[in-house]
Symmetry: none
Subunit: 411 residues, 2 copies
């Protein structure tokens, strides 16, 4: 069945709150096998609310609203909807009891405007609010389902999990399975180009790509009567993609690059140390976001000054003078120096020009060297990245993670 | 004028991405004196996209779309809209040049499907994409304004700031002046409680608080016929807030904590070095996001292992054995050791338990010590943070930045 989500609240239109309710509901509804076709947001304005609710109801089987169930004058969702579908609002004694009890618990006096919240359209299924005052409800009207939920995310999430999810799960004919494949080192358009044939005849499963902060994802979504049926649809596609693009793929199950690398390091117990200059700790901070990394990560040294490169890593003064801090020579001496100090299996260094300043005629912003020293050898990579300081820093750190991934694969 | 925002992208309906573009645009449009009346989201489906675009155009003076301008087959926004309003798509040579140049710069081969992005509806104002490939455009059609922007937030934000904002500002009858005050060390509800009286009688200027990743902001927005008029409205409120909350305020002009601290360090030329354990480089990576920080930041050492704490910082083995790595003694020895090595004016250390593992009966997850060593003295702070691993890491780094800020104020 096709769903629309209608968020009610002027704060959304003012840009004062991000619409996390719609984000949450969309994910949950998809997991339950429902198609979400539209999102709508409207303010606390009776005419516009009625108008947009009518639009939503016309084009969907299920309309889920959030917000506008509270005690105040501008909480109108319930009133508008019940009037629109011609249902009277009736006092619901249970809900009133709950609201009174709620105020006792937080020992605050209950003002009369709260009673308004206990009125429910006749014939509706009441959805208790276990951590707030406003109950929600479900109306099943000539082939359409209308579900009204409160606006505060904590109340809405809990009400959905406890009461709406079971109701919808029982009604759903399908389950939806989504697999996400992650790529590095290939652009979105190139990826689309290579998978054009698979993408263009997409029905079930469907394929879609997303690019965000250097991470490129491909989502494969299948709908089936059972999980097995959905997986049967996904797996051949996954195999075909693996065949064409495996060398660019770092995860077949939606892990971030740092998760993949962190987990590999921990699982294979490969010790690692890092020496960062232009990324200024961004690489190690990504890696240390992974729980348990302390078992393999010995240390990271952010050597921003030349002096620090000399003291901490034993980079030769002559090297810095002759080739500069941003050079393959310095990158390799940083990695080798770190290797001597720590003995970690993998020692990686990054030195580059993140900008906006620091460029020279020979060394543009975005020039980055990555040095690696392992038990076998010391080597380097050279890159010319472009974009803002933070984009260059981020892409440098991602690239380093991918280099580490390639190395550990062999361990 | 009344605006609708139409987001195009199946990933929104699938609940895979939160709609940050609509959040951003709503705030910006309000700041420019425009009313946002509706938000819409629709997937990459031609009929539904056309249908919802028509609805939006009917009920608004300005429709702003995001997404669906990319090179791929399911990027349809431009095609649908130009067909709907009866404009032909024409190749825009400048845009094509830019796209080609973009691929040269990142030295990736440009696949043919990218050319599609250079086609613009006839008569449209082209909006250059300075950090990506897909240009946007503005169409001014019989009393209606249609603005199409790319989906990736970074590209959309920059395009809006550089090209759309000036265009809309010039059309707006009002000047909207927004000042943002940043707070640290106080919660959102406490802040609202202290400013209750100012917030509740808000008309012009309006006050709104936003909490995000440990950053707490208060926006004061005034609408006037001139900048002076708007500022006249804002200043007395600002003074009153300063009077009540100055000690919690680190910026009166919307700077991030790392910007404030970075700029102070650079301006006052105070050298600094860092020793991080549980934050794993997050603190130094925040600080190194500030251009020019290399003039004062000597080095940062991420000592994840005990051995690294001993080798790199001269922490005593006995100290680690007797008090543990997470203790005031270790924190202070880390800071003092760093001071001995670097001689930086400020040496700061962080050691703690970010979790989810690593807690003991005496040392819970969230226990964090921050040590500081200056020319005058060495001291420490103790905290018990709560939340996820990343929340604890982030809040620890923010707290350290705030400590540095307090120290430099005295220099």
């Amino acid at each position: 069945m096709n769903c629309s989500i209608l968020s009610v609240g002027t704060e959304l239109l003012m840009g004062q709150t991000i619409n996390s309710n719609t984000f949450f509901l969309s994910r949950k509804l998809n997991e339950l096998g429902y198609n979400v076709l539209y999102h709508f947001s409207v303010g606390d304005n009776p005419d516009r609310l009625e108008n947009i609710f009518k639009t939503a109801l016309d084009i969907s089987d299920i309309v889920i609203t959030t917000g506008g169930l509270g005690p105040t004058q501008d909480d109108l969702t319930k009133e508008i909807i019940s009037r629109f579908i011609g249902k009277e609002l009736k006092l619901n004694e249970d809900s009133l009891k709950k609201i009174k009890y709620y105020f006792e618990k937080i020992n605050r006096e209950m003002t009369d405007n709260n009673i308004k919240q206990a009125f429910i359209p006749e014939g509706a299924i009441v959805l208790p609010n276990d951590i707030g005052t406003a109950p929600g409800f479900i109306l099943n009207e000539n082939e359409k389902i209308i579900i009204c939920l409160p606006g505060p995310p904590r109340e809405m999430n809990l009400m959905f999990q406890n009461y709406v999810k079971p109701y919808l799960a029982e009604k759903s004919k399908y389950i939806i399975k989504s697999d996400i494949i992650k790529f590095f080192g290939i652009g979105e358009s190139k990826l689309e180009w290579i998978l054009q044939d698979l993408i263009s005849n997409q029905t079930n499963p469907t394929l879609a790509t997303y690019a965000n902060e250097g991470e490129l994802s491909l989502r494969i979504t299948a709908r089936g009567k059972s999980l097995e049926e959905a997986e049967k649809l996904i797996n051949p596609i996954k195999q075909e993609i693996k065949k064409r693009l495996d060398k660019f793929i770092y995860s077949y199950n939606n892990q971030s690059l740092e998760e993949v690398v962190g987990d590999m390091l921990i699982r294979k117990n490969v010790s690692i140390s890092l020496a960062e200059s232009c990324t200024g700790g961004l690489l190690v901070s990504k890696l240390t976001s992974i729980p348990g990394i302390s078992s393999v990560l010995d240390r990271a040294i952010v050597t921003y000054s030349n002096r620090a490169k000399i003291d901490e890593l034993g980079v030769k003064r002559e090297t810095l003078e002759k080739y500069g801090a941003v050079s393959k020579e310095t990158a390799m001496e940083m990695a080798e120096g770190l290797k001597d100090i720590t003995g970690s299996k993998i020692c990686l260094s990054i030195t580059g020009i993140a900008g906006p300043t620091g460029a020279t005629s020979k060394k543009p912003v975005g020039l980055v060297y990555i040095g690696v020293s392992t038990d076998e050898k010391t080597f380097y990579y050279k890159y010319n990245f472009n974009g803002s300081r933070n984009k260059i820093r981020n892409y440098s750190a991602m690239t380093a993670l991918n280099i580490i991934r390639k190395i550990i694969e062999k361990y």
